[in-house]
């Protein structure tokens, strides 16, 4: 399919800019002007709409396909969330209004949303206060690591290391490192979780924090979590909860009760806001009482008279991590989703996510290797190592699923499982869809025995077959070249 730039016809217009209705003309001096126009496409509105509609048809998405991508929580994104976020009373609201004099009063509706979402999240996680500022999960991790640093600095401790399990998502060590910490990798045990016996040797007075997902990326809940927390707290360290997998336990267990001090949540996972093909997300961070003074500026507070205000005067705050109050449009959708679900809906959400994952695990167990074979939470990891011995790798299984109309699970992650396939069905898939997925996986397992080449050829139903990633990295083409000057003349 041609690029929008390749569809360009000089002189064609997609949007008519109205003529000026003011008598003034701004004469920008030649020296300050660009010398060559930005070579943007020259296309009609229909061409634009058709181009992007056709592009959309070259995607898998939740709306069109089952999407059991592990640790990504690809659940249904209810339509009404989009409508509430588009309400003009929110979408047209300028973020600087609260800073105009008398401004707090101009945005009471928006501040109430921010305040109430934070209250909900505190109750769900057992934290004392939340900042809605962080703009995505990894951004929340970084904010959390900065909060931990601020806390230790305040207490005069220059702690240097953060302990992170080997099964952790790559953002965890990257976030800790960017906040200035050295990363110490902790091994998972034969049950797939961190073992207090191993962690004991890693914890010392330099330990600023232990950073965990719970359940972890294998979908396993660590029963020793409180022992680990005690160990870390004993040396003055803090417990960090990566909430990427909160969908498993929301309403059933609270990170605060498990001993965690800092929590980041991914609203674009657990709270059903759409992922947008790679964002925008929202990664609010909650903290236990001792860390409250360090939360980013500003914080929304509720006054005695029932109005809401932004508090800027926070001397120990880590400052601004986002320009304003977070990805408000995303937070708004999560708020609407929470209101719809309510207390019992939230619990049922997690319960069904766990039910669906265990159902898939039970049905797939006879056909694939299960490296950590125990009851899982909202997701589980299979290993295609036995299939790989016959020449069918996790990658081939993934591509085979595409031809069967299913988005593949997360592949080759976590790295501690060879040929990993990480499956998270979420609560919104029906039993019929889950069964269709199982059937496809069984068929693929059979093909691995009988006709591996059929899988090596996959996918054959997509606009392109397997792409040469090595060539992409060697002959880097990340920007369509400009029509050359000669052609222009």
């Amino acid at each position: 399919m041609n690029l929008i730039f390749e569809k360009s016809t000089p002189g064609r217009r997609g949007f008519r800019v109205p003529p000026s209705d003011v008598p003034s003309r701004a004469e920008i001096p030649q020296a300050l002007r660009r010398t060559r126009d930005a070579e943007l496409p020259e296309v009609s509105e229909l061409e634009v709409v058709r181009h992007f509609t056709q592009l959309s048809q070259r995607n898998f998405s939740i709306d069109t396909h089952m999407y059991p991508l592990g640790s990504c929580t690809m659940k249904y994104n209810p339509r009404f969330l989009e409508d509430v976020a588009a309400l003009e009373g929110f979408s047209r609201l300028h973020p600087l209004l609260p800073q105009l004099r008398g401004g707090g009063i101009l945005t009471q509706g928006a501040l109430q949303v921010l305040y109430e979402v934070a209250q909900w999240l505190c109750e769900i996680t057992g934290m004392a206060q939340f900042s809605m500022q962080p703009l995505a999960g990894a951004h929340g991790e970084l904010t959390g690591a900065m909060l931990i640093a601020a806390y230790h600095r305040f207490h005069g401790n220059r702690k240097t290391t953060v302990i992170i399990p080997d099964s952790a998502h790559g953002t965890n060590p990257a976030s800790a490192a960017i906040a200035g910490y050295q990363v110490v990798a902790a091994p998972s045990n034969e049950r797939g979780v961190l073992d207090p016996a191993h962690v004991k040797d890693l914890v010392n007075d330099q330990t600023a924090a232990l950073m965990l997902t719970c359940p972890n990326t294998l979908g396993l809940f660590n029963r020793d979590i409180r022992t680990l927390a005690d160990m870390v707290h004993a040396v003055g360290g803090l417990m960090y909860y990566d909430g990427a997998n909160l969908n498993a336990i929301a309403g059933w267990a609270r990170p605060g009760d498990l001993g965690f001090d800092v929590v980041q949540l991914n609203l674009h996972k657990t709270f059903a806001t759409p992922h947008g093909g790679g964002g925008p997300g929202a990664g609010p961070v909650g903290v236990a009482e001792p860390l409250v003074p360090f939360l980013p500026t500003s914080v929304v507070v509720k006054r005695a008279d029932g109005t809401y205000a932004l508090e800027y005067d926070r001397k120990d705050s880590i400052g601004y991590v986002a320009p304003f109050y977070g990805n408000f449009g995303v937070i708004l959708k999560a708020y609407a989703y929470m209101l719809a679900l309510g207390r019992e809906g939230l619990k049922r959400m997690a319960e069904t996510a766990v039910l669906n994952a265990n159902y898939l695990l039970a049905r797939l167990r006879p056909h694939y290797k299960v490296p950590f074979d125990r009851r899982c939470m909202h997701e589980f990891v299979l290993s295609a190592a036995p299939q790989a011995k016959k020449g069918v790798k996790a990658l081939d299984i993934a591509k085979g699923l595409i031809d069967r109309g299913i988005h593949p699970p997360t592949m080759y992650f976590p790295g501690i499982v060879p040929e990993a396939l990480m499956i998270e069905p979420t609560e919104t898939e029906s039993k019929e869809t889950l069964d269709a997925f199982v059937d496809a996986m069984i068929e693929i397992a059979r093909l691995a025995d009988e006709d591996p080449d059929a899988l090596h050829r996959a996918p054959t139903t997509t606009p392109v077959g397997r792409l040469d990633e090595v060539a992409a990295a060697r002959r880097l083409d990340v920007c369509f070249p400009l029509p050359d000057d000669a052609a222009q003349a």
Partner: protein, 130 residues
């Protein structure tokens, strides 16, 4: 897998080839090339740099992995293979000749005793296969 007899090997899959009295040539074994399956980029060592045995001298990238290359023996790096920057695929297909990485003027020839000969390296690879 082709493991030439004319050179020595490390457990990290580098080879070292002595060339008369001149500096030794360093590269990656067929096993390393297979593991990388498509080198996309190499960060070469600096000419003139002095390295110790086991010190990181280069960084090799494939699509989904980054691997370090270590000095099989200590010494001064007297030459680097600039051709790899333009064409990293030399490491895939010609890792024993045109795909060499650098030449080291060895500081202590005794360090070579720590390396494996081709036979020992083949046996070592067999232990990895399981």
């Amino acid at each position: 897998m082709h493991i030439p007899d004319d050179r020595l090997y490390t457990m990290e899959h580098e080879w070292l080839k002595q060339e008369g009295d001149g500096p030794a040539r360093i590269g990656l074994s067929a096993y390393a090339a297979e593991q990388l399956s498509g080198v996309t980029f190499i960060e070469l060592p600096k000419k003139g740099q002095t390295v110790k045995r086991g010190q990181k001298i280069a960084n090799v990238e494939s699509v989904k992995a980054v691997s370090d290359v270590y000095a099989p023996a200590g010494g001064a790096i007297v030459e680097v293979n600039g051709a790899l920057e333009a064409d990293p695929s030399l490491l895939d297909e010609q890792h024993y000749d045109a795909g060499w990485i650098c030449r080291i003027d060895l500081a202590d020839a005794a360090e070579l005793d720590e390396l494996m000969d081709a036979k020992a390296y083949r046996e070592y690879l067999n232990t990895l296969a399981g």
